[in-house]
């Protein structure tokens, strides 16, 4: 028995969501009194793979194959399933990232294992195996029982903290059975939206809406974001009228995010907007209208004109940064 975790990498580097998944897998392994094995597909340095031991992986299985440096869902799914069988894993953990979403269903169907996609917490019980996730786009929570022997859990990024300690993982090469027919998809090109921080994985987000009056006023939003190391986002109408690019639009019809901090400036807080940001840990709302609905969903509120408040906030962040370094 063991817990296996697919340790996703991007261009050979692990991301925070991978450390979260390994930490999560290891906490489950503790619940089940067993050990954690991580599976790495692709070219990651030995040092980085060994460092997964810090988050609880005792062993790392590494699949190196130049055809697998980019996602091939069918091949990846098969490999994770094969590794799970080899390790006699009862629980298979992956991150519910875009890569995870491409392989979760495949792994589950291959193993005939029940899947909870978007788990947000450790299992509340292991018999019956019960895991909580969000439902109705964050308007509810549900406890899902998995009845199969093997279980697949896709962990929501940013929902579980990284737990790090001491330790190095041992490395083991893993050569899976791979058929040409598993590689029916191939990646032709990667288009980066920008060199900046990707919205979906940003820990801090500064977002603005129609209250900003025009695209020429986004300078202060970008300045604040840069100072904080935050990504920028916007409301739907702002993207629709072309003030901001569409990939910044968050909400029901846009991207769903759950950063540690979401600062909403000049956004009314319509239910469709909230649908995309309500899982943010802390929400700050800056709005000139004290009745703006967003204040009901906020942790901290500032009633005031963005054109006065944001420059002051920028100064305050600058002062804070100099006094804390």
């Amino acid at each position: 028995m063991s817990v296996i975790v697919f340790a996703e990498n991007w261009d050979g580097k692990f991301k925070k969501s991978t450390f979260e998944a390994v930490s999560y897998a290891n906490e489950i392994a503790k619940q089940l009194s067993t050990s954690t094995t991580a599976l790495v597909i692709g070219n990651v340095s030995e040092e980085d793979m060994k460092s997964l031991g810090k988050y609880g992986a005792g062993k790392v299985l590494n699949v190196k194959n130049d055809r697998l440096n980019t996602l091939a869902a069918q091949a990846y799914g098969n490999i994770v399933a094969e590794a799970a069988q080899k390790e006699v894993a009862t629980v298979i953990v992956i991150s519910n990232t875009y890569t995870g979403k491409n392989i979760a269903g495949r792994i589950a169907a291959r193993l005939k294992a029940g899947l909870v996609a978007g788990a947000t917490a450790l299992p509340s019980a292991t018999a019956p195996f019960t895991v909580r996730k969000k439902c109705f786009s964050g308007k509810g929570l549900t406890d899902v029982v998995i009845t199969s022997d093997q279980k697949v859990l896709a962990l929501t990024p940013n929902a579980f903290r990284v737990i790090s300690g001491e330790g190095t993982a041992s490395l083991e090469a893993f050569v899976p059975a791979l058929k040409d027919s598993d590689l029916k998809t191939s990646v032709k090109e990667v288009k980066k939206t920008s060199g900046k921080i990707a919205l979906t994985e940003a820990e801090l987000v500064v977002s603005a809406g129609r209250g900003l009056k025009g695209p020429e006023n986004w300078g202060m939003i970008e300045e604040l974001a840069n100072l904080l190391g935050a990504a920028t986002a916007c409301s739907k109408p702002v993207a629709d009228i072309g003030w901001r690019p569409h990939h910044e639009h968050v909400g029901q019809t846009g991207i769903t995010i759950g950063p540690n901090l979401y600062i909403a400036i000049g956004i009314s807080g319509a239910i469709q907007h909230l649908a995309g940001v309500s899982s943010s840990k802390v929400i700050v709302v800056i709005n000139s209208d004290p009745e703006a609905p967003f204040f009901k969903a906020a942790d901290y509120g500032v009633v005031g004109d963005a054109f006065e408040v944001v420059p002051r906030l920028i100064e305050a962040v600058k002062t804070f940064k100099t006094s804390h370094h």
């Binding site: 169907a109 029940g114 990667v190 019809t253 500032v302 002051r312 804390h324």
Partner: protein, 244 residues
């Protein structure tokens, strides 16, 4: 070319969600709609059919009460519909049912939504592809077909990835793939007479069950900070919220 679009039925996006004693969704007064991502998939299938020829079939696992939703898909433009007469309680069960139909009656292009907005799982596309031994690409914003070459764009963190694949394939739709169409009068009229085939489920296993529901924890009251006290806000974010 034969297109299959999997549709699920979900509460309208503006529904206020409540549960009956934490055991089931309180469906009283809830209006049900086609899952928005499935509508996006359906519209792209219609566009591709218009360009390349063929038929668009929608398939739904659900009981008789869902037929108005299926008729809506026909009104938007699907040519025919299949309803598998069973409660869609678990994604593995739903995917198995659809896979059985496709094994007997193959399709070139099988589309789903990226996730249903009720359980937000996004499991069916991958499961279906695995059961049918087909390639799959999930969360796509573009599907172009030229001859037997398929080019898709899938969302990744901070960008897009261009993926090529061959027919047949499974893909799940993300917003941006198409602009959903509003059914016109002619569509609504013709939907009444389009074929809707009802199939009994094949025996299928369920691997998961939602056993209880809860509301998300209530927010603490919003703490107001004066507009000229931004240093105070920064301190609160640092000391109290510990986010900067």
């Amino acid at each position: 070319m034969k297109f299959l679009v999997c549709i699920s039925q979900v509460p309208d996006t503006t529904t206020k969600i409540t549960f009956i004693e934490g055991k089931a969704l309180n469906a009283a007064g809830v209006q049900f709609i086609i899952n928005p991502y499935d509508e996006i998939a359906l519209t792209r299938a219609l566009e591709l059919k218009e360009a390349l020829g063929g038929t668009v079939t929608v398939i739904h696992v659900g009981t008789v009460g869902t037929e108005p939703t299926i008729r809506k898909a026909l009104a938007i433009g699907a040519d025919e519909a299949i309803r598998i007469n069973a409660e869609p309680e678990d994604a593995f069960f739903v995917a198995s049912q659809i896979a059985e139909v496709v094994k007997k009656n193959p399709f070139d292009v099988i589309l789903t939504g990226r996730e249903s907005i009720d359980y937000n799982s996004g499991q069916v596309a991958g499961m279906l592809a695995e059961m049918l031994d087909l390639p799959s690409v999930c969360v796509v914003t573009k599907i172009d077909i030229s001859g037997t070459e398929v080019t898709l764009e899938r969302e990744i963190d901070g960008g897009k990835e261009v993926v090529s694949c061959s027919l047949p394939f499974v893909a799940s739709a993300q917003k941006g793939l198409s602009e959903p169409r509003i059914p016109n009068m002619r569509g609504i009229m013709s939907a009444r007479t389009k074929p809707l085939q009802i199939t009994e489920p094949s025996s299928g296993t369920k691997l998961t069950a939602s056993v209880s529901y809860a509301m998300p924890p209530a927010k603490q009251a919003c703490k107001m900070v004066a507009a000229d006290k931004m240093n105070e806000l920064v301190e609160l974010l640092h000391q109290e919220a510990k986010v900067i």
